[in-house]
Symmetry: D2
Subunit: 339 residues, 4 copies
């Protein structure tokens, strides 16, 4: 937060102001300017924001910075961050497709899906090994075995790999076996996990929390960046809404909103956002046209026609069609259409 003081502020008024700021646990750095003294306030800004500083005598202007001096901001870095995951570059103009099953179930199924994903033109394979589930009685993933399958199939097919990590104690195993870590929507504010990932330096896909504002999300990214890890890719996957027509409300305006604030790449996950396979292609194409850096899509080869309609995963043939459409869209969204 920045405060601009009146040149003629009295020493009494200045003292009152300082007490209010220090009382809120914040620090002050002074910079003289032609219009008066500029104070950069740091520390417990959440707290301080509730103090109506602009009505203090001698305060001329209050400028909330909300992360403006943070590492993720455009003020800190104007050119787009490009994150390298295997041979794929995320950010900086291209459009990346990640595909794969929700969960790693067994090696042959994963191989079959991976081949389809690769053939369609995607370059990164997704698949859950540690699965956070609403109920403790649901299938929670294969754990380390799942990671090893991902690693092996990734090497076989030449796909880079990404999978979710939920527990700081699993990070080491994940890093050894994956090209990219994923932080899921439920753990966006699990700051101890973010800090450990930050220390690792490994590429990470940071999903937006289900009720996180853009500001909350960029601050979560900051937890990773502040540890010296610049390889953060944001991922919008729908926020909590009131309409049950879709599982979540996909907030595509997050694309320009992030672009306006940050140099970090942003992907879209239309599968979890909508919860419905037939809504995935239109939303993936919308993401491309709106200038996203890529999409992450659930794909699986389920032979049971009876089940496929009710799910969010695309069948391989629909995924292949979508990838073709996306390549075409990418060519026309061009430089001017870039948001």
């Amino acid at each position: 937060m920045l405060l601009l003081l009146d040149k003629n502020i009295t020493s009494d008024h200045r003292r009152t102001l300082d007490e209010a700021i220090h009382g809120a646990g914040c620090t002050i750095t002074e910079t003289p300017t032609r219009q008066g003294l500029l104070l950069l306030i740091d520390g417990d800004l959440d707290h301080l924001r509730q103090v109506p500083l602009k009505i203090f005598d001698g305060v001329t202007k209050v400028v909330p910075l909300s992360g403006a001096y943070s590492l993720g901001s455009l003020e800190h870095q104007a050119e787009p961050t490009v994150v390298k995951v295997g041979d794929t570059h995320i950010g900086g103009g291209g459009f990346v497709v990640i595909g794969g099953p929700c969960a790693v179930e067994d090696e042959s199924t994963l191989r079959e899906i991976a081949i389809q994903v690769k053939t369609s033109g995607a370059t990164i394979l997704r698949g859950g090994a540690y699965k956070p589930r609403t109920s403790p009685y649901s299938f929670r993933g294969l754990g380390l075995d799942g990671l090893l399958m991902l690693r092996d199939i990734g090497q076989e097919t030449g796909l880079a790999t990404v999978s979710e990590v939920c527990d700081p104690r699993h990070i080491e195993a994940c890093i050894s076996n994956l090209d990219m870590l994923q932080v899921g929507t439920r753990n966006m504010s699990n700051f101890d996990l973010l800090i450990e990932i930050g220390k690792s330096g490994h590429p990470v896909l940071l999903k937006r929390g289900r009720s996180a504002t853009i500001n909350d999300w960029l601050n979560a990214a900051e937890y990773i960046l502040a540890q010296g890890n610049p390889n953060v890719v944001l991922c919008e996957r729908g926020v909590r809404g009131f309409d049950t027509a879709t599982r979540n409300t996909l907030d595509l305006a997050a694309i320009p909103a992030v672009r306006e604030r940050s140099h970090l790449p942003i992907l879209i996950d239309p599968s979890h956002a909508t919860g419905k396979a037939s809504y995935v292609p239109p939303m993936a194409k919308a993401a491309c046209a709106a200038g996203a850096d890529g999409v992450i899509i659930e794909v699986h080869c389920n032979p049971q026609a009876a089940l496929s309609d009710a799910e969010q995963a695309l069948e391989p043939s629909d995924f292949r069609d979508l990838c073709e459409d996306l390549r075409l869209l990418e060519t026309v969204r061009g430089s001017r259409t870039q948001s």
Copy 2:
């Protein structure tokens, strides 16, 4: 709502069931089927939906129809509705652009904007004459004078016209002077207004209520359709969300969600949805790629650079660029990319 009864339902169980249905103010129409008697329940379904009918003895299946037999549903009409507004056809595959100022301010400003809108390739001119405003002390529009300006400028430029109507007592004047009526987000559930518009038969742009589900919205359309007016165009303009980064949360998944349920055309209003000019082009392009039938965009010629950044209206040159981008996107979204 449909109920399928067990073939062997006892007369006691049937009587209990009938009392529950009639007690909720609903009517029953019976249709015999091979699997048992099928009951079509009509009337106060909101009420009845709270009765756990599926646990009644003798009830085999409960199928909520939520408008399935309504006029707006795909069950009622499979082919897309095409609404003719002046010489423009909305629905059925093309992509329509509507442009113009938020409010009609004066004739020369409106003419200047209209010429720019026309030159850019848009075919319908928007502009508010009756403006609902949060505060009663804000500018509420020019009323009838604004309508007459719209009519005149529309004729001069060869643009069709659309403007909002809020009061059933203004409908007649609006119909005489406009090619299309608009029902705003605040009046989506003003059913007396909808019924009068329904009786008029005039084309209408029905904006989604700020906290309306897809189902609420299609039922609001039904109020108009049920009066014999088939010329309803839906318009998504953002729903209430928790993030202040955008004014509303643009729900682009409404496009496939409406397509799956209804034959009515759907437009997107990225200007009111985001409240920010720089977010309008990416969201308009996303709407096109996702398969919308068009967009409605705020345009005005404000010379004050200082103000332009803070607004949702595009400057004419940005609008022209966007229209070009949209034409390009329309060519590639093609038949297969159609959602």
Copy 3:
């Protein structure tokens, strides 16, 4: 909106500022103060709020008024408004109970319910004659016949009456037959309706819109007050939320939030808020303890035990118990517990 200018603002800076304000369609009223010139800005504040006025040179302070000079604000009137409905006073310290059926169905049912409502200690009878419904095919009320039944039963039992009005063309009939009009959640932003009710001077219960902020709601009240009608009672009835465990999310913090901003009385409607009879008594008691001026509760005498569980209306015996509990709570919430 108030702006405090620096005493030494240059004429250039002042001119830039004025252009920005006028350019946003707003007017300026100047008041000299010891700290500098104070500008009261009126007009299109929605628009102006997006201009970052506080970074203009020479602007010392920006104070958003959001209705602060409005008739409904505490700045305008410090003492609580008391609205008289029949013999009942709403506001100013007491706790009022309104009861009755969702819809007026027939005279004998209404009479039976009214007698129970009266016996339990409630003083105002509610019942819908014009019913806005999600679907046009649902039961929409008895209209004028329903109003006449309400009037007659009200006179018989000595209860005042309140019922919803949705259409400006029905206001006259409603005023002739009812002690209080109700504006429902769907019509909170039907400003033409509000203005007509404002002109009538009749007591009105203004329900909060389903996605209205406190500020939106107080501004809707202002539409009525600005016409010279001071008899406005606010009613919180739940806002749109994401959890389907209740029909809406009852926002009881609206009670202190309204108290802090306005002198208008506030009632709570736990029946529509929760949609569940068993949740109504705890929420009604919570409203009383939190300092509300009363509650409006759905009551009906439905003999069908099978249906009662699934509804939001209380049976007469539960309503009687609740009224007793509320009287007890009212005695202890006392003067100090008054929020």
Copy 4:
């Protein structure tokens, strides 16, 4: 999930059904009943819920259990759980008050607050040692030093203690020094943390996630219960809403909603819910009247009058008044008023 099958289901239809269920990764347990075979489906219900099982031939009824056979449900245990924290019993009819500062800052401040909290009649002291913060640059708590201060001051004053734990690696230190652990809103879905707390058997206050449904929340509790730890106390602290008049939207209807589903105690946190000290007393009293098992309130002794208005923490004298009011309310909410 329960499925009731038609007695005469054909073997073909049964096989199709079984494939659909197994294909979704679920297991089937059969129970014969007079109406037909009852199938209890377990496993990946999230997945299965998207399969429209009720339209399968031979399926008579589908009953979603949403945790009905879980340990936290009333089906599993009808009598209320009582959790002992130090000498305080939470649940079963009484009303518990927890008070203390947001964060443990230093020993003398904590002692001063603790004495006030104790004198006012509260029995448990709260205070954050590990503080999850939106920004990584905000004050994040004293860590272990804070825990030790809490332990010491708790022993001095005879108050039990509760503090937040965010990282499974801190659980051991927290258990050694605290009477109760707290899981904050950001970590409600940090399932690895919940499982470790479950294994510990220690009393835990489980706050509701900011966008968690009642069902999500009870399932999070189930992660702890399923490890053999029955000492779970739920805490509603406001959910994400659209109105900035309060920091969050306090969902007091969660009290009856939880009562109807679970035997676990439920507390209310009006401080974090509203973010405003003046709203805390009315909401705390509302919680008591609605039947909650207690409240957790922020209290601190801040001498700076200028700051106090802007914060959510109560001053000691306001806290004392509130505690008196709550004791009075508790006596009248009595047995009948119990929700």
